[in-house]
């Protein structure tokens, strides 16, 4: 009996996630696709959970399965690089440099900024 209920819960989770993706496509069409449909869907699911329209328990199993195994879903896309290899090979060093330098820059600015913002808000708090 319990097994059957678990399966129904998985189906419910699949339905809720697909529904939010569909609503995301609707938002992208109506409001604007400056935000991709999938990201609209993510925001909508967050909103539904916060508003209590969707119970976290109903989507937990399916959502964790998808996010924990995210790698498998972009393996085919990454394989597509075989067709692009000539382009990369020609600019290999520059490509590596752009990715590495930019990654370190983002890390430094976010880390230092966050630390600084927290230190000033903490000081304000202690003054009160």
């Amino acid at each position: 009996m319990e097994k059957q209920e678990d399966l129904m819960k998985i189906l419910k989770g699949i339905f809720i996630i697909l529904l939010h993706l569909a609503l995301g496509h609707l938002c992208a069409g109506v409001i604007g696709d400056f935000i991709p449909a999938s990201v609209w869907g993510m925001v909508l699911l967050f909103a539904s959970l916060m508003l209590g329209v969707v119970k976290p328990d109903d989507v937990k199993t399916v959502a964790h399965f998808l996010t924990d195994n995210m790698t498998i879903f972009f393996l085919p896309a990454a394989i597509g690089i075989m067709d692009q290899w000539a382009l990369i090979k020609m600019n290999l060093l520059a490509w590596l440099a752009v990715v590495l330098i930019s990654t370190v820059l983002v890390m430094l600015t976010t880390g230092l900024l966050q630390q600084w913002l927290m230190s000033i808000t903490k000081k304000k708090g202690s003054d009160d």
């Binding site: 996630i17 498998i72 879903f73 085919p76 976010t110 900024l113």
Partner: protein, 226 residues
């Protein structure tokens, strides 16, 4: 006849799922946190396609089913945000400011560096979203008109580089606050950075996890402005 069977959809799907399972198995056996399943699956799939002389396009066409699931994957990140809502509430202002500045620096630095190295436009269009988690980065890239495969590979490279040198950079820059460490790892190197942040501590991991979703949203907005 054999060729038709080999290039059929179920066989091509088995190749993807099988290579991923193999990657997970090797990672588990080796117990090395940096030996990501991606590093094993990709060479295995490429080698098999190459040996059997199967064109890349046939493989991609057959794997549309798996690629489709990237959308639901992004939607599921909404639950991740929800699970970290307490942390968001606690540091709401500073985290939002930092994530927006971080995504602007990410997109801006890629633009500047591409100009500096005189790279083709396709590189900027494909690398702009490189600090964002792969499924979102791919959507943003196709919006910009870049190459989705180049984006996927760049995002993974960005993830590995951040996960490997991140702890050194953080120590060198004297970034010690757990929230700042987690945010730096998550903003710069998405899921792979967060996996490393989890090893630093629970708060670092939680902040890293929520910054994956926030960074995706912030970069969408930054990219839409340009």
């Amino acid at each position: 006849m054999i060729k038709e069977v080999i290039t059929s959809v179920p066989v091509m799907l088995c190749l993807t799922v099988g290579a991923y399972l193999l990657g997970c198995w090797v990672k588990k056996k080796s117990a090395l946190s940096l030996l990501h399943p991606f590093l094993i699956s990709i060479p295995v799939i490429i080698a098999i396609l190459w040996c059997l002389d199967i064109p890349c396009s046939v493989y991609l066409e057959s794997n549309k089913l798996i690629t489709f699931l990237l959308g639901p994957c992004v939607v599921s990140l909404g639950l991740m945000l929800y699970e970290h809502r307490q942390t968001i509430k606690q540091f709401c202002f500073s985290i939002l400011v930092t994530v927006f500045v971080g995504s602007a620096v990410g997109v801006g630095s890629v633009w500047a560096l591409c100009e500096l190295f005189k790279l083709d436009d396709v590189f900027f269009d494909s690398l702009a979203a490189k600090s964002v988690t792969t499924p979102i980065a791919m959507d943003l890239t196709s919006m910009l008109g870049g190459n989705v495969s180049l984006a996927a590979i760049s995002v993974v490279l960005c993830g590995f580089s951040g996960a490997i040198i991140g702890p050194l950079v953080l120590r060198w820059a004297k970034i010690k606050a757990p929230v700042a460490k987690g945010l730096a790892m998550g903003c710069a190197s998405h899921g792979l950075g967060t996996a490393r942040a989890v090893e630093m501590g629970a708060l670092e991991g939680a902040v890293g996890g929520l910054s994956i979703a926030l960074m995706g949203l912030a970069t969408s907005l930054v990219v839409s402005v340009i």
